[in-house]
């Protein structure tokens, strides 16, 4: 089957957000800002993804999984633009909208794996899990997590430090916080306290988020 047009994808996305995540029954044509006879809507109706009831568009059972995956791609794209590329605000949203349409044919799986199967978008909305996420969960691969995700008493190996500030990273390294060292998290509140070798360090949550750990199973 041919790929959906970008505009059709946008419609599916809005429908998912409003009717599945929200509690609307269908969406007004006017709020979707589409014409009854527009190309993209006809495209969706032909695939029986949606139907029109009165002045509302409703998502059909057949369209659910496609809609879910569209939302998933959009939110993964947001994670990419905002977390990795560091583009914030409206600019980030705009870029994410462009990116999402490129995430097909397995690119979304690769991105999702790279991002370590995130469960929420930067705005806090859930990212619907893909097959790769379910598989990863079944294998129990804990992957690399930020120090903030560890529980007190847990330990792991420092995988990498993603410090935004060069000086801070140098400081951490000169104090012996280096990839490959084993780390034990001692306490999480009010500051993160961890042990490397026989030394103890305290960092705030901002820095703790930048220290990435491969937990020991």
């Amino acid at each position: 089957m041919e790929r959906l047009s970008e505009k059709a994808e946008e419609i599916l996305e809005s429908l998912w957000v409003m009717t599945v995540e929200g509690d609307n029954v269908g969406c007004l044509l006017t709020s979707l800002n589409v014409d009854r006879n527009s190309e993209e809507l006809i495209e969706l109706i032909q695939r029986s993804y949606v139907e029109i009831r009165g002045d509302r568009v409703c998502l059909r059972k057949e369209g659910r999984s496609e809609a879910q995956m569209t939302v998933r791609r959009h939110r993964l794209a947001e994670r990419l633009t905002m977390d990795i590329l560091g583009i914030a605000g409206d600019e980030g949203n705009e870029q994410a909208c462009e990116f999402e349409h490129l995430l097909r044919q397995g690119v979304d799986v690769k991105l999702c794996t790279l991002l370590n199967h995130p469960t929420t978008c930067p705005h806090g909305n859930p990212i619907p899990p893909g097959e790769c996420c379910i598989e990863a969960r079944q294998q129990g691969a804990s992957g690399i997590v930020a120090l903030t995700e560890l529980k007190s008493g847990e330990s792991g190996e420092i995988a990498y430090i993603a410090a935004s500030d060069d000086k801070k990273m140098q400081k951490l390294m000169s104090m012996g916080v280096l990839p490959g060292s084993e780390l034990i998290l001692v306490q999480k509140f009010p500051s993160y306290i961890f042990k490397v070798g026989h030394s103890q360090f305290a960092v705030d949550d901002m820095l703790a988020r930048e220290i990435h750990i491969r937990p020991l199973v």
């Binding site: 000169s174 012996g176 280096l178 009010p190 705030d204 901002m206």
Partner: protein, 652 residues
């Protein structure tokens, strides 16, 4: 090495913080210590000397440093010493427990071509943790003298002395890093032509990592064309390695360290958790940490500084010694020999240099500030402050500071002027400005605190209102400042050194050093203040100033007489409070007025010494803004509190 040097050879002690460097320093130098601020900074460098085999050695104790690439002011000072001095030996002191992470700096020192002696200290604790070290093997691997030590019990001291006297520089064997890194190091070495204290290899690595000070040095030492060439080579390499240069260098060094330590360290099972570890975890847990903080404040500040220092000691010095033995003959002397009235007034009159300057500083301020510094140094030596810092970090973030700022803030309760100097150690300009302002506004110094506590102690309710109001002011203004001032919020990271039993000598040296700088830097300002006050009184200017201020004072519901206390408060924080004391004794003030006056005075502008330090540290613009803001806020808070107390009838 054959000829006898008449001048003393220098021995520089370097190492991480908290490895017992000062203990080594004290063991080597005995009683001859002078602690001085490094030129242009508030960072302390201790100098001392010792005689070994008929030769005189000058010993320098540098501030703690983590690597040859400095990040903080302390590290920069320590490295500058290595860059400029020509040491006979550099003694690198490390903590045996953390040998693996401290050895990379030994490598850097050796690599820099410095005459290094490695002292592996705190061996006893390492053994308790189940570590066994083969130091002979390590010495062989490194090619430099390695000495195992427990310096606080003088174990290893003789060996160190001997190593210093017999030190013979041998060409070091270079450690080899990964091939690609070596090639780049070599490339830069080829473009270095000037003469430097450090080896070219070390220079090359530092230049590659874009060390600012080293680059400045290269500008100075290289010819213009050579420098341009060097810059070009470096630029290409830095760009190619932009992603992970620092990381690669660190990892390479660690790899070399692993080789050096291969077979040196054997780890067996550790003994059970010692008590100090337990105490440490109680201090860091908010549930148990808060009560511990209360205990420290109650016993350390309230009982010891407030009760013993401001009470017992002041009564003894002021009431007994000065009143009975020193004052009468001194005043008598001046009365006999200074017949001119203005001159007598200047020296021994009400605001005279003797009365207000010296007697006040010695009999009133010295015991209070001295006991405070003693408690502060004691806490500092145990390692309590880093634990306090991590405890308050979250709260401090709200007011635009990081946990690190507890040290200047706590010091402010001793002397705000000194604390303002210490704000330098904070990392961002924004933090420094906020800390300076909060010190000027809401942190009463020990002298002022002593008098105000005495003043309000008769009414617990008034004390309660004063405390709550000040804490609220501190938090609210900090919170607003954090909102208003541009800039990123600070990041907090700190090494938490093991708790340890305070070393009496360390504590005493630190206390005395602080008291000394208090006297050297702040006493002269007191004297100036008393001269200004005297001149004001003699010329009538003081009356005019008081005249200007009195409408404001009346507006916040206080009697006119209080104005004098406020004007004096600028010259000396505590003197303002002392003025209130007299007014209260004579019954001019009721409890509510007293509270309003105490709050306003505490918030009101810093003393003249603190203001001068602010000018020096923060510049004219920032200082004047803070000054005006604090003044306006103090009086409007006073006005507000007065209305509030009148409306609610509280304290009536």
């Amino acid at each position: 090495m054959s000829d006898l040097h008449m001048s003393s050879a220098k021995v520089v002690l370097v190492g991480n913080p908290n490895v017992g460097k000062s203990v080594v320093f004290n063991a080597l130098t005995g009683a001859y210590t002078t602690v001085s601020n490094y030129p242009g900074t508030s960072v302390e460098v201790s100098h001392g000397h010792c005689n070994l085999s008929d030769r005189r050695y000058e010993i320098l104790d540098t501030p703690g440093m983590y690597s040859m690439m400095p990040i903080t002011e302390e590290e920069r000072v320590a490295r500058r010493i290595l860059l400029t001095e020509d040491p006979h030996a550099v003694v690198h002191v490390i903590d045996a427990r953390n040998i693996e992470r401290m050895l990379p700096m030994t490598l850097q020192l050796i690599e820099a071509g410095l005459p290094v002696i490695l002292v592996i200290n705190i061996l006893d604790e390492a053994e308790r943790l189940g570590m066994q070290l083969d130091l002979n093997l390590l010495q062989e691997n490194l090619g430099i003298p390695v000495i195992g030590a427990v310096m606080k019990r003088k174990v290893g001291l003789d060996e160190l002395r001997q190593a210093i006297t017999t030190y013979a520089s041998v060409p070091y064997k270079p450690f080899v890093y990964a091939l690609d890194l070596e090639q780049d190091i070599e490339k830069i070495i080829q473009s270095i032509h000037g003469e430097y204290r450090l080896s070219r290899r070390a220079m090359s690595l530092l230049i590659m990592q874009k060390d600012d000070d080293i680059q400045d040095l290269a500008v100075e030492k290289e010819s213009e064309s050579d420098y341009r060439e060097l810059l070009e080579t470096t630029r290409e390499i830095s760009f190619r390695r932009r992603a992970d240069l620092h990381l690669q260098i660190s990892l390479e060094r660690r790899k070399v360290c692993k080789q050096m330590l291969d077979g040196v360290v054997t780890q067996t099972l550790a003994e059970k958790e010692p008590f100090s570890e337990k105490l440490s975890s109680w201090m860091m847990n908010p549930v148990t940490g808060a009560p511990i903080l209360m205990l420290v404040v109650y016993f350390g500040l309230y009982k010891f500084v407030g009760g013993f220092g401001a009470g017992t000691l002041v009564d003894f010095l002021e009431g007994k010694i000065f009143e009975n033995y020193i004052n009468p003959p001194v005043v008598n002397f001046f009365e006999t020999y200074l017949s001119t009235e203005w001159l007598f007034e200047l020296i021994a009159g009400e605001y005279g240099v003797w009365t207000l300057g010296i007697r006040y500083a010695v009999a009133l301020v010295l015991p209070i500030v001295g006991t405070f510094f003693l408690v502060f140094s004691l806490l500092e030596d145990t390692g309590y402050f880093p634990r306090l810092a991590l405890l308050v970090d979250r709260l401090f973030k709200r007011i635009g500071l990081s946990g690190r700022a507890v040290i200047p803030i706590v010091l402010g309760f001793g002397c705000d002027t000194m604390a303002t100097l210490v704000t330098r150690t904070l990392e961002t300009k924004r933090e420094r400005i906020i800390a300076t302002m909060l010190l000027a506004l809401a942190i009463p110094c020990s002298a002022q605190l002593g008098v105000i506590l005495g003043l309000l102690s008769s009414s617990p309710d008034a004390l309660f209102v004063w405390t709550v109001f000040l804490i609220m002011c501190f938090l609210l203004i900090g919170f607003l400042a954090a909102k208003v001032l541009p800039g990123e919020s600070p990041v907090f990271y700190m090494e938490i050194p093991p708790l340890r039993f305070p070393q009496l000598r360390n504590v005493l040296v630190k206390t005395l050093t602080r008291m000394q700088s208090y006297f050297v830097e702040i006493l002269p300002l007191f004297l100036v203040a008393s001269v200004v006050l005297w001149a004001g009184k003699m010329t009538g200017t003081l009356q005019n100033v008081i005249g200007v201020f009195s409408p404001i004072v009346t507006a916040i519901g206080l009697p006119v007489e209080v104005t004098t206390a406020f004007v004096f408060g600028f010259f000396r924080r505590d003197f303002g409070a002392a003025g209130l004391y007299d007014l209260q004794s004579s019954g001019v003030l009721n409890v509510a007025q007293l509270t309003v006056a105490a709050v306003t005075l505490t918030l009101f502008v810093p003393c003249v010494a603190q203001f001068l330090v602010m000018l020096k540290e923060r510049g004219v613009k920032v200082s004047v803004i803070i000054f005006v803001f604090v003044t306006v806020l103090a009086f409007s808070s006073g006005w507000f509190l007065n209305k509030f107390l009148l409306a609610t009838g509280f304290l009536a």
